[in-house]
């Protein structure tokens, strides 16, 4: 907790897009390892692969608007010893090219990293076609796939550098909008390790498990609840698969009530992964915050987050109700 951004609760907390952190991390990974290569499907600036492309043009392949080819070309490059990163909007990769990711990457067990940007309703005005709300579901169901959903730009940078060192298919979920910087360069990050980002003064009554930029909303909700005398803990679950079972179960044992928060369909997302784990290891009461079986639409990011029930007010309400029902 002490290693978080000291301004995390301030109105003027610095805002950087998670995808920017990916771009910086990818550049670092490229500098560290000459085998790292990049492929993009006509969204090089949008996915911030442009930073890598500028420095390493000979290690960058533009495949055009062809996400199925994007995935399988990367598979071929990985079979030859490269560490390909592919990027597009999450709706198209891993959305459109899911079978190619399944067969040519995961089934083949090759070392391809998939960066899916513009996940969640916070994409905003582009509307529902471009707001990926199913990407966690379709990636976490694949054997061998690691699924990472960073909470801010700094964590995205670290996750990207770490993903380049991890051997095996990996999905990194990114968001378009600028969002609050929660962590610092010093905040520990490890793939597969969830960390408590908020701990009240009293014994926690509810555990909030959040992923992605909504971790910030969860922190704001925790602070408000604390002021009302309800103590909670907030766990940043940045690696959705493999799930940090030990930490999740430990939070469940402590609080006996878990609320999950994600900018994704409730069905088959991060909350479902937590529920699968707890049903098997330590069944307790749970509530799920996310998009409830609906598609997104145009609007401002903040109003869409609120409309679909994922804002700070909704988190506070759901935590209160779950606590009362305990």
């Amino acid at each position: 907790m002490s290693s978080l951004n000291p301004k995390v609760f301030d109105e003027d907390v610095e805002q950087i897009a998670i995808r920017t952190g990916f771009g910086e991390g990818f550049l670092l990974a490229g500098k560290e390892n000459p085998n790292v290569v990049g492929l993009c499907a006509d969204l090089t600036d949008s996915t911030k692969m442009s930073l890598f492309k500028e420095l390493f043009p000979e290690r960058f392949i533009e495949v055009g608007v062809a996400e199925q080819n994007l995935a399988s070309v990367a598979s071929g490059m990985a079979a030859m010893g490269k560490i390909p990163f592919i990027s597009s909007y999450a709706m198209f990769s891993p959305g459109r090219n899911w079978e190619q990711i399944r067969t040519t990457i995961c089934y083949n067990n090759v070392n391809v990293k998939i960066a899916g940007s513009h996940a969640g309703v916070s994409v905003g005005p582009d509307g529902g076609t471009h707001q990926a709300l199913e990407d966690i579901a379709v990636t976490r169901v694949l054997p061998r796939m690691t699924v990472i959903s960073p909470c801010d730009a700094i964590e995205a940078k670290k996750a990207t550098v770490a993903a380049a060192k991890l051997v095996g298919p990996t999905y990194i979920r990114l968001a378009r909008e600028k969002t609050p910087v929660i962590t610092t360069e010093e905040t520990p990050f490890e793939i597969g390790k969830a960390r408590i980002f908020y701990q009240g003064k009293k014994q926690a009554e509810v555990g909030i498990i959040a992923t992605g930029a909504l971790v910030h909303k969860a922190l704001l909700a925790a602070k408000r609840l604390e002021a009302d005398g309800i103590s909670v803990k907030v766990l940043n679950l940045s690696t959705i698969k493999p799930l940090d079972k030990e930490t999740v179960v430990s939070l469940a044992r402590e609080t006996h009530a878990i609320v999950t928060v994600e900018e994704h369909q409730i069905a088959a997302g991060m909350g479902s992964a937590v529920a699968e784990c707890l049903a098997r290891n330590y069944p307790i009461r749970m509530a799920f915050i996310g998009v409830d079986d609906k598609f997104g639409q145009s609007g401002k990011p903040e109003e869409l987050i609120d409309y679909y029930g994922m804002g700070t007010d909704s988190i506070v309400d759901v935590v209160r109700k779950l606590r009362q029902g305990k």
Binding site: E58, I61, N69, S72, T104
Partner: protein
């Protein structure tokens, strides 16, 4: 360099042995595809016994040529050619499609690591071959001394991804990439011309900036010659359209799309093997 008569005879006899293995494997497995493997037996024989720079005793030799099979369902011909070339024992062919076998119903690299890829879902092999050829060029520039052979079917060109890969291969001018298309005119639902007309095929690939040749896929001189020509092309990937007869070698199976996805029963297999034995004698007498 042209093949000698002795070399042609040897290749024809190999192909005939491989066809016999295919029939035996499919009979024993009780399921699988018959027409495609028989039709491509000559192309695979030419590759494994004359063209490919590979070492069966050291299948992961880094400098080897790569063979990427895109239409994974014809794997009986791949497995049989590999076994006859010495990559694994011929007796192992009888494990095809059985539990625990390295010879999965569709190729799976995890079970048989000497394969270059796993395949089955159509249309993604050429993309992988493009990716491999790109890496080779990244590392060696134009000093090319190994080739990437993608074996594909005509039916799978109905998959849009095939054309995504074709565009990228043309854009990147991958001269180390040689695709061989099994133009056998059939697919599960019938003749390709009825299911989805593909012609003009040569012009399509030329329009995507590929160098295109059309050959008789059962003539070893033409198969080997086309690959030699492809290697001489400097700034384009190559497409060799191999016109083949599905089910080739067994009259009852030839040109009949019903044999796309089913194995012979015992009686049909015995008939096929008898016919192939006769064919073997014919090959020997023709070359004497």
């Amino acid at each position: 360099m042209a093949l000698t008569d002795k070399e042609i005879q040897s290749l024809e006899e190999r192909a005939n042995d491989i066809r016999k293995s295919i029939i035996e494997m499919l009979l024993d497995a009780g399921s699988g595809h018959t027409a495609g493997p028989l039709g491509m037996a000559d192309v695979f024989t030419a590759l494994y016994f004359h063209i490919l720079k590979q070492d069966p005793k050291n299948p992961s030799w880094p400098k080897r040529d790569r063979l990427i099979l895109s239409n994974g369902h014809i794997c009986p011909v791949l497995y049989a050619a590999m076994a006859h070339a010495g990559f694994f024992p011929i007796s192992e062919l009888m494990t095809l499609r059985k539990f625990g076998s390295r010879l999965q119903g569709h190729p799976h690299r995890e079970f048989l690591p000497m394969l270059e890829t796993s395949s089955g879902p159509l249309g993604s092999g050429l993309s992988q071959a493009v990716g491999m050829a790109l890496v080779d060029r990244m590392e060696r520039g134009r000093k090319i001394d190994r080739y990437f052979y993608c074996l594909m079917s005509d039916g799978e060109l109905e998959e849009g991804q095939s054309w995504e890969a074709a565009m990228l291969g043309g854009k990147e001018k991958l001269r180390n990439l040689i695709a061989i298309l099994d133009r056998n005119n059939i697919q599960i639902d019938g003749f390709t011309d009825n299911v989805m007309p593909l012609e003009p095929l040569r012009e399509k690939w030329e329009a995507f900036n590929w160098h295109v040749q059309e050959i008789n896929g059962h003539d070893f001189t033409e198969i080997v010659g086309a690959v030699e020509t492809a290697k001489a092309i400097f700034d384009k990937p190559s497409m060799i359209i191999a016109h083949t007869i599905p089910g080739k070698g067994v009259k009852e199976f030839e040109r009949d799309f019903h044999w796309h996805g089913k194995p012979p029963n015992k009686e049909q297999a015995e008939m096929a093997l008898a016919e192939l034995r006769l064919l073997g004698e014919k090959i020997r007498s023709e070359h004497e």
